[in-house]
Symmetry: C2
Subunit: 414 residues, 2 copies
């Protein structure tokens, strides 16, 4: 018998029929003797509907009140899920974040979990009850309703699993695991049976979008065994289903050098040229961009020549025009830069793998593979376990395919 | 400066535009120096939508979980209303029933309020804040979410007003007060400036539907000054707007004998004939009806003749077939009754007024008026301050009109 926390996202609970399917899955787990806590998101589309509704009243909705409004999405799902479980003949009981209690800080719309009181859940589980918890939400010390930000339901699942010391936290999504790359681009892409937390962090932040990055961090911190599974597949409960996200130290097997190829289509690059090469310049360039709430991804500054340097970074394509406007009209003259140029027809491709730490030659293999296809590398950025390049977006699929092949990712590893 | 609780129903907050209108009204009250607590319902249609959603999962939704689901309706409105108030430049803060805390018993879907902790609301009001409270909902001692049943938002408004010892509880609705009868039937119907609690109770239960009957009882018990107003009219704050519901003892003026003519179109009558005239028979007839959750309105049993009697009662027209089925198949043979007959083409008309207590001749005037129009009276039921008759439904409008005229209800009273 195991204690399993299962988290189902918005698509998995997107209709009454799907909610019933999830209840049937939970029933099978209980039949096998497991204790199950189900964490659910709002039904797909619901959170956006509520945000739009709020915006018809206030263009910039008050964060506290926005959380009051949008937290209702998950509250509806927990009630419906508990009902569906009862229809399957199970005992079930729902909890809002406040009812659990999931205590958070007071950063409305992006709160962080401080603690979880798991006693009531434990009692219910001991009584044979399936416990249904609203993802994405909590309560601050003053009793205000808070939400954890986009994808926060994953974090709720992991946090509940950590508090209960659950045997496994299963994240159900519309894919059946983490792949070596997107199968729509490379049909030979292979599901990874295991991936390390560090790799998962890089894959998630690089656009794999399977798991919220905070949830992965949280799982790493509290050593929660995390498994990504498809809520649409019929097999469940089997050993080896989905992708298990492991701690590196647990991973005794020979590690593949590269685990996957991540990519992001929506990258736009901006270069500020002829920037005086002096302290504080990076902040003077990125400060106004950040103030405008534009997220910056890769940042590169090369060694300067003759007292000036070029400063480059990438932003989401949707924010390219806004960022260019800020730089040209607010920053360029102020810092005495020569020019600001940009290109929103770029894409990012990354090879990710903990194995690359101890293996030389990954970078050169990557660059040679791209060169052989005539793909020009516009920017390069590296971390301990990944190498990212910015290329012309029209070569994106080609680059992903040739890299996938070059690193033998279509070959099953024992 | 007064402390005013304003309750807005689903139609008054039925769209973002209407929510903004309400916020403008509240702003004007605050400008006049009043402290305002706003109690809101779910946006119109929302509660029904949520109930239907629950029923797609469970034909008979679990009451605890149904309350979890449907309480989100008001929660959305409080957030939106607080935002709308901020847009008007006011400070505002929303509270769910649990956050207030409105403590109820655990009778899910029809809970009763036990106590209200009004301290946080008082603090917010003292700080110049408009407080927005979710109607219809509360929390039991174990922290479960409860709802108060249909129309429960009125009760919340009155209960909050009682807890705060508010100067007035204003119930905003889509009519501008309580009328002598339905103006759609009698164009000369007149808005009552005052009505007593007792009359209001009779009017509400007889189908006037302006106020939930529990709210009126609650207001009477805690001596809350209650005013019914239209949320669509432009005049507000004026003395004498809407209808003030008074305690009889406060009412020094000469009381009109009759305050209004209430009626109900959806009445179906059932008679069990030839019932053995012995103890326990009424329970044997109505027990199975009540067990089937069918509400019974008027009940009449006349003096028996030769050891048998006829037992009559009325039910809502929608439940006529179900009730007839129960009586014919479960009750008739069991109690040895001769026959069960029924008619679902009937209606109820009532004259209501505290003045009739001390005036003779009201009943005879009513019966004569109907007789003069050739309207046959099928059943009669009376209380201290009302006389109800069941008649053929085709005469309903005619009966209401002639009674309205006979009792001079179109004449303004000083």
């Amino acid at each position: 018998m195991a204690l399993i926390v299962q988290k189902y996202g918005g698509t998995s609970v997107g209709s009454p029929e799907r909610i019933k399917k999830v209840a049937q899955r939970v029933a099978k787990y209980q039949e096998q003797g497991h204790q199950v806590v189900v964490v659910v998101s709002a039904m797909s589309g619901e959170t956006n509907r509520l945000i739009e509704l709020a915006k018809t009243i206030q263009a910039q909705p008050d964060p506290r009140e926005l959380d009051v409004v949008i937290s209702t999405g998950e509250q509806v799902t927990i009630g419906l899920m508990a009902m569906a479980l009862m229809q399957e003949g199970l005992q079930a009981k729902s909890y809002t974040g406040a009812q659990v209690q999931i205590l958070t800080d007071s950063a409305f719309t992006k709160a962080r979990i401080l603690s979880i009181d798991e006693q009531s859940i434990r009692t219910d589980l001991a009584n044979g009850c399936v416990v249904v918890v609203a993802g994405f939400q909590g309560m601050d010390e003053e009793g205000n309703i808070t939400t954890l930000g986009r994808g926060g339901s994953d974090t709720t699942g992991v946090a509940i699993a950590a508090a209960l010391r659950a045997d496994e936290c299963q994240i159900y999504t519309d894919v059946d695991g983490v792949y070596t790359t997107d199968p729509r681009v490379v049909p030979e892409a292979r599901r990874l049976k295991n991936i390390t937390f560090e790799e998962m962090l890089e894959m998630a932040s690089l656009g794999s979008k399977v798991l919220q990055i905070r949830a992965v961090e949280f799982a790493g911190k509290y050593k929660v065994k995390l498994r990504v599974l498809s809520s649409f597949s019929e097999d469940f409960g089997q050993e080896g289903a989905g992708t298990l996200i492991t701690f590196e130290e647990d991973n005794k097997m020979e590690q593949a050098i590269i685990s996957g190829i991540a990519f992001n289509r929506d990258e736009a690059k901006i270069t500020v040229r002829g920037v005086p090469d002096k302290p504080g310049i990076a902040y003077q360039i990125l400060g106004p961009v950040s103030d405008a709430n534009i997220d910056v991804d890769i940042i590169i500054q090369n060694v300067g020549v003759d007292g000036t340097t070029d400063f480059s970074f990438t932003v989401h394509r949707n924010e390219f025009a806004k960022a260019m406007d800020i730089l040209k009209n607010k920053v360029q003259k102020h810092i005495g830069a020569r020019d600001v140029i940009g290109d929103d027809k770029t894409a990012k491709v990354s090879v990710v793998g903990v194995g690359m730490r101890s293996h030389v030659g990954i970078a050169s293999k990557m660059f040679r593979t791209l060169a052989e296809e005539g793909i020009n590398i516009q920017m390069i950025s590296t971390s301990e376990i990944k190498i990212s390049v910015i290329i012309d977006e029209k070569y994106l699929e080609l680059a992903v395919r040739v890299l996938h092949q070059a690193f033998d990712l279509d070959q099953e590893i024992l």
